[in-house]
Symmetry: C2
Subunit: 409 residues, 2 copies
């Protein structure tokens, strides 16, 4: 509801929310909306809200809180929680450490299931998403896991070590969140242990955090493609929106300007055969579209780990094959149309040839750009669309007008 309301109505509703739920809600809303809510609160309210949060939740919103508020909340935290907050804040975004929580239940391997059950009963409630207990030794080193479903169906007189699963998915806090999400998807996990290099259990990752991550990641990559820096508050001010969007438009301006200069170099040819001006955007546009198809497919395959070094050449060969087929089919069609409109056979031929060549350029760049970005450890999706379009626009104009200048004027 808060996200779907314009600023005034949003703040009116926010005032009606019970203070003890403020913290929880700040964690749930999107970053842009969180900022608008935090701006409307004084530091006393913020401290009260932050104090209701667990260390891992606090870490999620810490970047948006004023430093004074953070300092006050940290001071009030018990030593253990403070240590956890420090740990959670120390891992960069996009790692398992930034997503994990600390609410796991740990047991020893040399006790009976009976004792474990008694221990659990003394807790009023188990933490959310407790599908398994973690079995640790005296040094907190993870020895295995004990799924609740297994605990319930087993003989209570058995020792934990007899019933636990010694092998299970373990994550390191430095692992990429993307890889952890793939593991959750592949092995259908509800929770997984997070262990330090020494094997010491430090927390757990749960499927709800993974679902949130997948959703945000997918939104972020869609936004990144068109050059939005962050998920924008639907009712952001005009100035905030402008700030969120300008960078990409500026890049686009530069690439469009380069394409314009390519055309400028062929002005003489255009004056002699003005049909070129009308036909050139077709060559460029279809190249861009086809290049974007190739890139989208490659980005997805890279994310799923489906592209391995030995098979790159097969991939490029296939994409070039598709481009050639597309070029022959659409190029011939467009060549015929150009001939029908302008009655110039050579123009039709140039159109068909330019189209084919630009589609092959689009295919090569569509594979090369995301592969190169991922090789250098960058997000292959980011800006892929502008880069492809820049190549196919400038390239398409150059190929078409260049061929026309050679053969027609």
């Amino acid at each position: 509801m808060l996200e779907a309301l314009p600023p005034e109505e949003r703040l009116a509703l926010w005032d009606l929310v019970k203070a003890d739920r403020d913290g929880e809600i700040l964690v749930e809303v999107s970053e842009a909306v969180r900022e608008s809510l935090i701006e409307a609160m004084d530091s006393k309210e913020l401290v009260a809200a932050a104090e209701t949060l667990e260390a891992d939740e606090l870490a999620d919103i810490a970047a948006d809180l004023p430093p004074g508020v953070i300092a006050e909340v940290v001071q009030a935290l018990p030593a253990g929680e403070r240590e956890r907050l420090r740990a959670a804040l120390s891992y960069p975004e996009g790692t398992v450490g930034a997503l994990m929580d600390f609410e796991h239940v740990a047991v020893r391997e040399d006790v009976t299931l009976e004792a474990v059950t008694r221990y659990l009963r003394r807790m009023d409630e188990l933490p959310d998403h407790t599908d398994q207990l973690f079995v640790v030794d005296r040094e907190q080193v993870l020895r295995g896991t004990l799924p609740l479903a297994r605990l319930i169906v087993s003989d209570l007189e058995l020792e934990v070590s007899r019933v636990m699963l010694p092998e299970s998915v373990r994550l390191a806090p430095e692992d990429r969140a993307e890889d952890a999400a793939n593991a959750f998807e592949r092995y259908d996990l509800v929770s997984a242990a997070v262990v330090e290099r020494s094997g010491r259990l430090i927390g757990r990752l749960t499927v709800d955090a993974v679902v949130d991550y997948i959703r945000e990641k997918s939104a972020a990559s869609q936004l990144a493609k068109v050059g939005l820096r962050e998920a924008e508050d639907v009712f952001a001010s005009v100035l905030d929106s402008f700030r969120n969007r300008w960078a990409w438009l500026a890049v686009n301006l530069v690439t469009a300007f380069i394409a314009s200069r390519v055309i400028g170099a062929f002005e003489d040819s255009i004056v002699q055969l003005v049909a070129l001006a009308a036909l050139m955007p077709i060559v460029a546009g279809i190249g861009g579209n086809s290049g974007n198809q190739t890139t989208t497919m490659i980005v997805r395959a890279l994310a799923l780990g489906q592209i391995q070094a030995p098979y790159w050449s097969k991939l490029v060969a296939k994409e070039l094959g598709v481009a050639l087929l597309n070029g022959v089919v659409w190029g011939t069609l467009l060549g015929l149309i150009a001939y029908a409109f302008y009655g110039n056979v050579a123009l039709g031929g140039v159109m068909a040839l330019a189209m084919t060549l630009n589609l092959m350029l689009a295919a090569s760049m569509g594979v090369a750009i995301p592969l190169a970005r991922s090789r250098f450890g960058r997000d292959p999706a980011m800006g892929s669309s502008v880069l492809i379009t820049a190549c196919t626009d400038s390239g398409g104009f150059f190929i078409f007008l260049g061929l026309a200048t050679l053969f027609l004027v």
Copy 2:
């Protein structure tokens, strides 16, 4: 591994997979790869593989199996499973019914937790993702849920009715999978009951199915935007790839052709002032980019239910405001550049004005197209990028060349 290998290597690996895992793997791989694996199996192997699957899994791959294989497998199924398969197949893709499974554990409310525990112990293993038991009456009507975490910490002499949660998320098989995924995300669910209108429990939805759905949905929407009909096998044949991609390129061809005719109508102006040919792609290109930013934001807000009817006008006003600001900033800049290159003040002015008007067209269409599509019950993302680009290309050429014809030639 299978997905990341070219056809020959893939089939060589597939031959090495133990036959009893064939079914499981066919369920997990993507549709495109599944087709390539199924083609390589004879019907005896397919029947053997299909017979290892649960009804809900069988329903997932049924569309890809030859009818003869399905018939044989269905005949071999026990009556209860056959009924489940029929139920699973009867719900269309994108509904809860198509995602649910039938492996829930149900108990009565008038028994003690002790009795429930004994009942569970008689099962060797609980189904995956059993975080809660479903409490039903004699008619299988859902009365509540009993989380395992609650069962473990409660006094075993209590009756189920005293411990169960009477209120919990219930889904109907006709519910949209998208809404169910939002509920899983919002309420951090691991499983949820699926009930018929009468209240009778028929199955459950688990978080692993939801995660798979979210992933596929997000991939599908990215693919749809650039006009790929389905997730393509990375090593598909050239002909298969062509078939997957041609439809969108054909649409693009038509829109590019229309834009070309718009330019054709102004050929006289271009001959008189050839700079127009070089500058016009800038106006069109930046409009397209900006329109795509608006659409991406609106599509996302629609998916999250953040756009309500009373606030549409605010939204349009905001987008027009951003467009105006962008137009003034970038229009002025481009006008100055045009002036610097061509020494023509009026050309600079026309450039700035055309840019601003095309950005405002982009903003209006960027809001209108996804809203209209969603009003008519269609996917707002599908084809949004081509439609926007068509408007801003043809519109941009028309505005710029029209203004130039009025004021410059």
